[in-house]
Symmetry: C2
Subunit: 80 residues, 2 copies
């Protein structure tokens, strides 16, 4: 089973990296992008376990290791 | 409309960052994670455009700016 974990800065935190990408796109004349936020993406390969167990374990890993809860938030999805 | 773009190293490229996370998880006694790959995540906010236009524009931006096609691959999804 695979878990896709997406970590982004909270809405209220300035995302300098994302703004730099957005500014670069504007300078390079790419149309129609009004905002960019940049984050991290983790693809975890999990050993055999049921969905409830996987969900619990991924949430624990995200909260305790992958995410800085002061400035970041996360979401994830499981894939069989 | 929003576009979620996920950029990862190709399977054939050594992902030192991901391996470091995987090793750390093992050392910290997290169970059941056999592999970690780390990548980048971009959330683009697009101006009003139809889905075909958005798809074309996001693919262009990903290919030409966000992704290094020599070592990286990407996927994306649109959200109304």
């Amino acid at each position: 089973m695979k878990a896709h974990v997406y970590v982004t800065l909270k809405r209220t935190v300035l995302d300098a990296q994302g703004q730099t990408v957005a500014d670069a796109l504007r300078r390079m004349k790419y149309q129609g992008v009004s905002d960019v936020r940049q984050g991290k993406y983790f693809l975890l390969t999990l050993d055999e376990m049921d969905e409830v167990g996987a969900r619990t374990e991924v949430e624990r890993i995200a909260r305790e290791v992958l995410v800085n809860p002061v400035i970041e938030e996360y979401s994830f999805r499981l894939e069989a």
